[in-house]
Each structure stands twice: as C-alpha cells, then as structure tokens.
C-alpha cells in the first residue's frame, strides 16, 4: 500500500485519469449545450458508437486519422440532424426518443462492424503530442501535457464552451430558448433554429467523443462505449449545467477509475471487491443528484417541446 503513493504512480494515475476523462468530457460538454437550449439527449451513447465505428472504419480503409476524425464528426452531425427532426419537427418525448437513438446506434454499429469488418483489426492510434516547455515541467508535465490531440481539444473546449454560452449572442440565445422559449420567441429569436444548432453541436461533440475513444484504443468492438454516454448525461446534471463543473465531474470519474485500475494492477484491492468499487461512481452520482436537485435549477424549458401559443 505504501508504495502506491510514490510520485511516479500518482503521475500515472493522473495521466490515466485525464485520458479516461476525455470522452466523458467531450460528450458532457455537448450535452450541456443541448440541454441549455432545452433539449435532453439520452441517445449520445448510441451516437458515440456510430461515430466511433465510422472513424474506425475510415481509418482502417484509408489509414488517415484526419479522415477518420472527419467521418466521426460527420456521422455525429447527421445524427444531430435526425435528433433535431425528431425533437423539433415531431416534438417527440425526449427521454424516450433518446433511448431509441441509443438502441439504434448500439445495434446498427454492431451490425455494420460484423458485416464490414468482422475480425477486430488494429488501426493507427492518435499520436501523443508533448506540448513544448509545459511537458518538460516536473510532475505536471507528464501527467497533463503528454496526451493525444483530442484530449487537448476536449479541455480547450471547456473555456470555449463557457465563452460561447456566456458571451456570444448565439450562446445567449441558446440559454434564452432553454429558459423561456416564449419570451425568446417574442423577442424574435427563432427557438427552433437555435435548438437545431444546439442539438447539432451536442451530437457532433458526442461523435467526437466516440472518435476520441476509438482512436485512443485503436480498435473497435460492438458496444464499445459500455454505457459511457449515459454517464456523460449524468455528469451534466452532476455539473449543474456548468462546463467547468462538468469537467470536474469528468475528471473525478476518470481519476476514480484510474485509481481503481492502478490498485488492481498492484493487487491491492482484493478481486472480489472490484465490482463493489465499480459501483461507486454510479452511487456517487445518485447522491450528487439528490444534493444538487435541491439547490440547482436547470434550464427551465428542458425536455419541453416548443409550441407557439
């Protein structure tokens, strides 16, 4: 136990936590933008799987990482358009239509993988990029500044999202249609278009999360995400719709997982308790939901379709 707290191990745990947090963060930030506009998207896990498969497939065929990333983004955007039509044109109940998207993404990516690929073949992974100067810093350099590009993108997107939602006209419109769509409407803001764009952003980022996951692993398999997208949705509530808090939640989740794995690798946790340890994040999330539900108000119009009076 004592040698667990050596510097190397801690640095590795933090590094691993940051790496694990990346897809949660990307998906969670996207979901935040969507929810801020009043749209709950429970389907991001399915979107992630579809995007992950397309990125995997494109890289497998072309060996071009850039094309893979673009393919994943494109599929995320297409799913965004679908979800926009479902929630805005058809005004379907969001809790359930999202589950539909999830089931579809799960099944369809599985189907495509089995038919088009079959044997899991490894693909090129994203390279690690060491940020000049910063990566040479003692301790933090290795933990924070030696990651793949999408990890940096994810963390850069945190301030970007904060600025976008807080300072840009469009971001303010998003928040307006999420809080009081009728008032926004009467002020000349197109509720539907604003929500379309927010959904598009959310799904594209979910797509990017899937891409980050698959290009970090270098391999695809059916149900690659194992419910990651649902945790990301929970993180949005956990983070009270604030990007910085969503980031904190994602990091916490990543660090807990990394710590558990590190303890397992050193045979510190008895095997039989590893499942109990794995329950911890979900239990913690429920506890956080209980505490936060009393104090924090989300977007007032969340999950409510907009119907002009």
């Amino acid at each position: 136990m004592s040698d667990f707290f050596t510097l190397t191990v801690l640095v590795a745990v933090v590094g691993s936590g940051v790496r694990l947090a990346t897809p949660y963060l990307l998906a969670g930030l996207g979901e935040t933008v969507g929810q801020k506009s009043g749209v709950l998207n429970l389907g991001i896990d399915g979107v992630m799987q579809l995007s992950a498969f397309s990125a995997y497939f494109v890289v497998l065929k072309t060996d071009n990482l850039m094309l893979g990333v673009l393919a994943g983004l494109a599929v995320g955007a297409v799913m965004g358009v679908f979800y926009g039509v479902i929630t805005i044109v058809f005004k379907a109940t969001q809790g359930i239509s999202g589950i539909g998207i999830f089931i579809f993404g799960l099944g369809f990516s599985d189907l495509l993988f089995q038919r088009l690929v079959g044997t899991p073949k490894p693909i090129r992974q994203l390279p690690t990029i060491e940020i000049p100067f910063l990566s040479e810093l003692p301790v933090v350099g290795e933990a924070l500044f030696q990651h793949n590009p999408l990890t940096y993108v994810a963390f850069i997107l945190v301030p970007v999202t904060i600025l976008f939602l807080g300072k840009t006209t469009f971001g303010l419109n998003i928040r307006a249609v999420g809080e009081n769509p009728h008032a926004a409407d009467s002020l000349g803001v197109s509720v539907e278009r604003t929500r379309y764009v927010a959904i598009l952003i959310g799904n594209t980022m979910a797509g990017l999360a899937g891409v980050a996951l698959v290009l970090e692993l270098g391999i695809f398999q059916p149900n690659l995400t194992q419910g990651l997208g649902f945790i990301a949705v929970a993180l949005v509530y956990f983070g009270s719709w604030r990007p910085s808090h969503v980031m904190a939640g994602a990091l916490l989740y990543g660090l807990v997982n990394a710590t558990v794995l590190q303890l397992k690798a050193r045979n510190i946790i008895p095997l039989s308790f590893s499942e109990l340890a794995a329950m911890a994040p979900a239990v913690l999330t429920i506890v956080a939901l209980v505490i936060l539900a009393q104090r924090v108000k989300g977007p007032a119009a969340l999950t409510k379709p907009f119907i002009r009076h």
């Binding site: 691993s16 599929v75 358009v81 044997t119 899991p120 970090e216 692993l217 050193r266 095997l271």
Partner: protein
C-alpha cells in the same frame, strides 16, 4: 414562418443526402461479401471449401458466445471446423451469450437437421441437459467442459490452457528485462484462469520477479482492458499477455508502447505483427476429427476430450516477425517437451 419551413426543408435534404451517401458507401463496400455468402458460413470465413457437394456434406452448426472472428475463443472453433479434411456445411450463430437465445439456436439447429451441433461455451451445458435427449440422432459437442453430464450424444471438450500458458510464461520471463510481467484477464473464469495460472507459474519458474494480474471484470470492455494494460506499464511491466476477446484493447496499448505480447486461444499476430511473440492456438480439429470418426462408427457421444501440447491440439505458434533470442526459444522448446513428458508442473 416561411423561412422556417425552408430551413426545415434544407435540413431534410441535407439529411437525405448524407444518408444516401452513407448507404452508397456501405453498399459498395459490401458488394464482395454479398457474393460469397450464400447459406454457408465457411465461404465467408475462409473463402474455400463448400464447393461440389458430391455426397451429402456433413452439416455442422456452431453456437458461440462471441463473434466468429474474434481472434480468440470462438474463432478458434470456426477455424478448426474449416480446417477439417471433410465435406462440411457449416452454419454459425455467434455473439449469443444470453443462454435463452443460445438454447433457442442450439435447438433450432438440431431441428433443422444438422448432424453435429457445437455448443461452444461452458454456460450452455445446462441447456444441453434439456435439449440433447430430444434429438438422439444429433451429436452435440460441448465445451469447454470436462464431462458429458451423462448424456450419450454429447462429446465434451476442453483445452489444457495452462500448458501453453506455462510455455508463454517461460518465454515472457526470458525476454523481460524488468522481470515484472502483466496479465489482463476478463472475469476470473473459464479457460482464462487456467491459462493465466499456467502463465504465472511459467514466468516465475523462468525467473520473473513478479506477475501482476488484473481481471477487469468484463468480457466485453475493451477500454477497461486497455487502461488496465496502461496501469501495468506504470508498474514497470515490460511484457504483457491476456486472455478472452476484450484483450484487443490491451494489445493496442502494447503496440503503442512497444511492449511484447503473448496471445491465447487464436493466433493474434495480426493484431500487432511486430510485437506478438507467440500465441497459444487452440487446434480443436485434432479432437474434432476423433469425435466425427466416432460418430461415423455409430458412437454419438459420451466421451470427453482434451486438447493439449502432447496431442497437438495446443500449439505454440511463434511469430516469425519477432526476433526471439535463441536461448529463450530453446527454453520454450524444453518447457514444451517437459510438459509433454510430464516432468513439469504448471501449477494448475
């Protein structure tokens, strides 16, 4: 309002265009597969066999928990059936871990008139107790299992996975500089346990300082397997192995960090051509042939078979692309001979 409708229309057109593009792309990609897949899977899997049905071919069906081309447990059986020197019509239902579905598939294949139905998963045993007596003319193969549960139309099969594990362990210890070796397993169950136990004994006998074993708790979670491998690396591990289908995640980590890898169940060289040192490969065909010969002779079941190093059912396939030092290779061969000769205890 008008503008709004236009926007919707644009979105719809955009969506349709993308869908069309996506479908076009995938259908073009799928064309070759379409031509090779009539009703038999053999054609799809290997592209050979299933031609000219002179006499009625033997109809064999496999029901398996993971994908037929998982580079692991299920693929080992598919490859084995395809390797048989017989006229065989093979059908496969893969990816069915749920017992209920597997039971339905097993029964369905028996009803469809298959001669041999392979229930390729320990967990299907309980279903066989119910199904096998209903089809006395069908031979059921069940593994991994060491007894036939008293059913006379069931053959049981199992691998002595600890044997190859031991050999891999010896080699792993031979090439490790840190003397610390990492293992990534699924649940602590099935042949993974035997392989890992044998590996641990072999590595320690071969002079390794410690063998760190992580069971991720899931057969499916590749990401967790990858991160478990990462965690090993931090602890000074410089050689990795693993068992079950989710190891592909760990192999990815190995290849990113130039860590040698040892495979189990099927030849995993294709996952990391430069780094896979050796794989213990299950060659079920050795015992399959025996079982089918027994069936030809009118014995439909009632016996248990094991593949091991001695009968050639377990083969350590070294990757020619990996430059293994002479001495280590010699130690491996000695270990194989020792196990066959019964002078080595794999600790399982």
């Amino acid at each position: 309002m008008k503008k709004n409708r236009l926007f919707r229309l644009l979105i719809a057109v955009f969506a349709l265009a993308l869908v069309a593009a996506a479908c076009g792309g995938s259908s073009a990609e799928d064309e070759p597969a379409t031509t090779t897949v009539p009703t038999t899977e053999a054609a799809g899997a290997t592209g050979s066999e299933t031609t000219e049905p002179v006499a009625a071919p033997l109809r064999v069906a496999i029901v398996a928990p993971s994908a037929k081309d998982d580079l692991a447990f299920t693929q080992s059986m598919v490859d084995a059936v395809n390797a048989l020197d017989r006229d065989i019509e093979l059908s496969i239902t893969d990816g069915t871990f749920v017992i209920e579905d597997a039971a339905a598939a097993i029964r369905g294949y028996a009803e469809d008139g298959n001669d041999v139905v392979i229930a390729h998963g320990t967990q299907f045993g309980a279903s066989l107790i119910e199904i096998a007596p209903d089809f006395p003319d069908v031979t059921f193969l069940w593994g991994t299992a060491t007894d036939t549960q008293g059913l006379d139309n069931v053959f049981a099969y199992s691998p002595a996975a600890d044997e190859g594990g031991y050999v891999n362990g010896i080699v792993a210890a031979g090439i490790s500089e840190s003397g610390i070796i990492g293992v990534v397993g699924p649940l602590e169950a099935g042949d993974a346990v035997a392989y890992i136990k044998g590996f641990e004994t072999g590595a320690l006998d071969g002079g390794a300082k410690s063998v760190n074993i992580t069971y991720t708790g899931s057969f499916g979670d590749v990401a967790l397997a990858a991160e478990a491998a990462q965690a090993h690396l931090v602890n000074g591990v410089d050689v990795l192995t693993g068992s079950a289908q989710m190891v592909v995640g760990a192999v990815g980590v190995a290849s990113q960090n130039d860590i040698p890898w040892f495979g189990n169940q099927a030849n995993q060289t294709s996952l990391a051509p430069a780094l896979v040192v050796a794989s213990q490969v299950y060659h079920w065909e050795v015992i399959l042939e025996e079982m089918l010969s027994l069936r030809d002779a009118g014995v439909l079941g009632g016996q248990a078979f094991e593949i091991n190093l001695a009968n050639g059912g377990l083969v350590i396939e070294f990757n020619p692309g990996y430059d293994l030092p002479e001495g280590v290779r010699a130690a491996a061969d000695a270990a194989i001979q020792g196990i066959i000769g019964g002078t080595i205890d794999t600790g399982f």
